[in-house]
C-alpha cells in the first residue's frame, strides 16, 4: 500500500499547468504506443526467462518459441540446483557479498571522515591515492593482481576475493561528500562540551551520515553479487566462486546432446531473483541510490 501511494503521490503533487490542452489525439496515441513498445522491449527477456525456466526439454528447443508451456516443470530448478552445485556457490555469494560490504565500509568511513573534516599535510596526495581505483577499470589491472595473488598463494581464497573489493574510490568519495554536509557548529559544540573524538564520531556524526553509508553498503553488496569478472580472474577452482559462475557453468550442460535451455533459464532466474525482489519493493530507493552516487 505504501509503495503504491509513494508511486502516485508525486504525480498528483507535481501536475504542471503545462500545454495539456494542446496535445492532440495523434500525439496521445503515439505516446501510448511508444510506452507500450518500451514496456514490451524491456519486459520481454524477463518474461521469456521466467517462462522458459518451466519448459520441458523439447519445448525449450522447439522451432517456434513457446510462449506458455503446457506444463510447468519445477524440476528444472531442482536440476539447476544439482548440476551446478548451486548451494555451495550461493553460500559463497552470501559470504562474499556480506563481507565485502562490511570490509569496504569499515575501511572507507574513517578515510572519508579524515578527507572531509581534517586538514593535514599531504592531503591532496592521499586523496588522489584513495581515489585511484576510479581512474582505472578492473579489466586493466586484474593481471598484476592475479600474478601477485598467485605468488602469495592467495588464489581461490575468500581473502583475495574480499581484498579486491575492499578499496573503492567511489565509495570513499560518496561518503566523504556526506561527511562534508555535517555542519561544523554541531561538532564544535560537542567538542566544547568536552566530548571525546570517539563520542563525536559515533554519537554525533554517524547518525547523520548513516543513510549514505547504508546506500553504499547495498551498492557494494549488489556489485559483488552480480560480479562475474573477478570470479574468473582470481579463481582456478570452485572453492570461492559465486552464483554467476554457477549459472555460466550450466550453459555447458546437455541432455543427450540437447542443450538444457530450460535449466539455464532456471539458474539465471535464481541468480537474479534476490536483486529483482529487492527492486520490486524498493525501486525508488535503489534508483535514487544510483542517481546520487553517480556510480554506474
Amino acid at each position: 500500500m505504501s509503495f503504491m501511494s509513494m508511486a502516485m503521490a508525486p504525480a498528483k503533487a507535481a501536475k504542471p499547468p503545462k500545454m495539456k490542452k494542446k496535445e492532440s489525439m495523434v500525439s496521445k496515441i503515439l505516446t501510448v504506443l511508444l510506452l507500450v513498445a518500451l514496456f514490451l522491449i524491456f519486459i520481454l527477456p524477463f518474461y521469456y526467462m521466467l517462462i522458459s525456466s518451466f519448459k520441458s526439454l523439447l519445448e525449450a528447443i522447439s522451432p517456434t518459441p513457446v510462449w506458455w508451456p503446457e506444463e510447468f516443470l519445477w524440476e528444472n530448478y531442482q536440476k539447476a540446483w544439482q548440476i551446478s552445485k548451486m548451494p555451495k556457490y550461493a553460500m559463497n555469494s552470501v559470504i562474499l557479498s556480506v563481507s565485502c560490504s562490511v570490509a569496504c565500509i569499515v575501511v572507507s568511513v574513517p578515510c572519508a571522515f579524515a578527507l572531509a573534516r581534517m586538514e593535514f599535510r599531504g592531503k591532496a596526495v592521499m586523496f588522489a591515492i584513495s581515489l585511484s581505483s576510479m581512474m582505472v577499470p578492473a579489466q586493466c589491472v586484474f593481471l598484476p593482481i592475479f600474478i601477485m595473488f598467485s605468488k602469495f598463494g592467495w588464489l581461490n581464497t575468500y581473502w583475495a576475493m574480499i581484498l579486491v573489493f575492499t578499496h573503492s574510490g567511489s565509495t570513499i568519495l560518496f561518503i566523504r561528500n556526506a561527511f562534508k554536509q555535517v555542519s561544523n557548529e554541531v561538532l564544535e559544540a560537542a567538542r566544547l562540551d568536552g566530548a571525546s573524538e570517539l563520542t563525536v564520531m559515533f554519537k554525533v556524526i554517524m547518525p547523520m551520515v548513516k543513510p549514505a553509508i547504508i546506500t553504499m553498503a547495498l551498492m557494494i553488496f549488489m556489485r559483488r553479487w552480480n560480479d562475474y569478472f573477478w570470479n574468473i580472474s582470481l579463481t582456478t577452482n570452485d572453492n570461492v566462486r559465486t552464483l554467476p559462475y554457477a549459472v555460466k557453468s550450466i550453459t555447458a550442460a546437455t541432455d543427450g546432446g540437447i542443450p538444457e535451455y530450460a535449466v539455464q533459464m532456471a539458474g539465471a532466474t535464481v541468480l537474479m531473483a534476490p536483486m529483482l525482489i529487492a527492486y520490486i519493493f524498493a525501486n525508488k530507493q535503489i534508483k535514487n541510490a544510483f542517481v546520487y552516487t553517480g556510480i554506474k
Binding site: 504525480a11 581484498l163 557548529e185 562540551d193 555460466k248 533459464m265
Partner: protein, 315 residues
C-alpha cells in the same frame, strides 16, 4: 551561543566519564590523527590499484619467460608486437566501432527517452522503472537469456523478424551480425540507467526558466534546442563519458556470448588482454595492451573530473 543539542551532548559526556580504559584513550587519540584514519584505505589502494597500475606499466616493457621465470627488458618490443598483431588491431577496431555505436546511439536514445519519460505520470514512471531493471541484474543472467533468445533456430529474435517479413539472422553466431548483436544487448542493458540520469538532470532544471520561455512564446522545438539541451549538457557529457568508458571496458557479455568469435569478429581489447594474460600467459603483451586501454579510460575519466570541477553537477 547555545546550540540546539546541548543537553543531548551533555548526556553523552556523562556517559563518557565512565570510560577511562587505556584502549579507549588510544582509540580516541587515533580518531584525531588523520593518518591513522586514512591508513587502511590508503594501504589497500596502494596494495591493489596503485601497485597494479605501476606493475602493469613496468611489465609491459619486459619479456616474461614463465618456464625459466626470467624477466628481460625489451623496451618497446611488446608495444611493437601488439601493434603488428592482427588480432590486437582487430580488437582495437572492434572496440572502437562498438564504443562509437553505443556512445552515439545510446546517448541519443537516453536523452530523447529521458525527455519523453519525464512526464511524472504513473504510466511513464512505471515504464521508466521497468527500463532500469536490467541495470541491477547480473550480466550473466542477461547473457544467458539473450543467448537463448538469439538462437538462430526457434529463437525469439528470428521469430519477431519473421513477423515483419524480414530474413532471419544468425545473431551472435554470425560473423557479420555478432558485433551488432553485442551492441544491441549493451544498448538494452544500459538504456535504463542513462534514462534515469537524464531524467534527474532534466528535473534539476528550474521551472522558472520554462516559465520565462513560455512568456516569450517560444515554440516547443526552440525551448528544446535553446533551453533544455544547453542546460542538460553537463548531464549529457557525463553520460557520454560513462558510456564510453563502459563500452571500452566491456567484458562479461563478450566472454559469455561469443568469446571473441566467430573468427575474432567480437574480439575486444578487454578480451584480448584476458586471453593473452590468463590463457596464453604472455604477460608482457597483455600488460602492454592493458596500458593502452588504461590510457584511454583514465584520460576519459580525467576529462570528466576536469569538467565536473568546472561547473557540472549531475544530480
Amino acid at each position: 551561543m547555545s546550540t540546539p543539542n546541548n543537553t543531548e551532548i551533555r548526556a553523552f559526556r556523562k556517559l563518557e566519564l565512565k570510560k577511562h580504559s587505556k584502549g579507549y584513550k588510544i582509540l580516541n587519540g587515533a580518531l584525531k590523527n588523520p593518518y591513522v584514519l586514512m591508513a587502511p584505505a590508503v594501504i589497500a589502494a596502494l596494495a591493489i590499484s596503485c601497485f597494479a597500475i605501476v606493475y602493469c606499466i613496468i611489465i609491459s616493457f619486459f619479456k616474461w619467460d614463465l618456464i625459466a621465470d626470467t624477466r628481460t627488458f625489451v623496451g618497446m618490443y611488446n608495444y611493437q608486437y601488439i601493434f603488428q598483431d592482427p588480432i590486437f588491431l582487430q580488437a582495437l577496431s572492434n572496440t572502437v566501432t562498438y564504443a562509437i555505436f553505443i556512445v552515439i546511439i545510446g546517448t541519443a536514445l537516453k536523452v530523447l527517452l529521458g525527455v519523453f519519460l519525464n512526464k511524472n505520470t504513473p504510466a511513464h514512471n512505471f515504464v521508466q522503472t521497468i527500463m532500469f531493471t536490467p541495470h541491477i541484474i547480473a550480466s550473466v543472467a542477461v547473457a544467458v537469456v539473450f543467448r537463448y533468445m538469439m538462437m538462430p533456430d526457434g529463437g525469439v529474435f528470428n521469430t519477431i523478424l519473421s513477423w515483419f517479413g524480414l530474413p532471419p539472422s544468425r545473431w551472435y553466431m554470425g560473423q557479420e551480425s555478432a558485433l551488432a548483436s553485442l551492441i544491441f544487448i549493451a544498448l538494452w542493458h544500459g538504456l535504463g540507467y542513462g534514462v534515469l540520469i537524464a531524467i534527474s538532470g532534466l528535473r534539476a532544471i528550474p521551472d522558472y526558466v520554462y516559465e520565462a520561455a513560455r512568456l516569450d512564446k517560444s515554440s516547443r522545438t526552440t525551448t528544446m534546442m535553446k533551453i533544455t539541451m544547453p542546460l542538460l549538457s553537463p548531464t549529457i557529457f557525463y553520460l557520454l563519458i560513462t558510456t564510453c568508458v563502459g563500452a571500452f571496458t566491456t567484458y562479461d557479455i563478450v566472454d559469455l556470448m561469443t568469446q571473441g568469435g566467430p573468427n575474432n569478429a567480437t574480439m575486444m581489447l578487454t578480451y584480448y588482454i584476458y586471453e593473452q594474460g590468463i590463457r596464453f600467459m604472455h604477460y608482457g603483451r597483455a600488460m602492454a595492451a592493458a596500458v593502452i586501454l588504461m590510457i584511454i579510460c583514465s584520460s576519459l575519466t580525467l576529462l570528466s573530473f576536469k569538467a565536473s570541477a568546472k561547473k557540472i553537477h549531475y544530480q
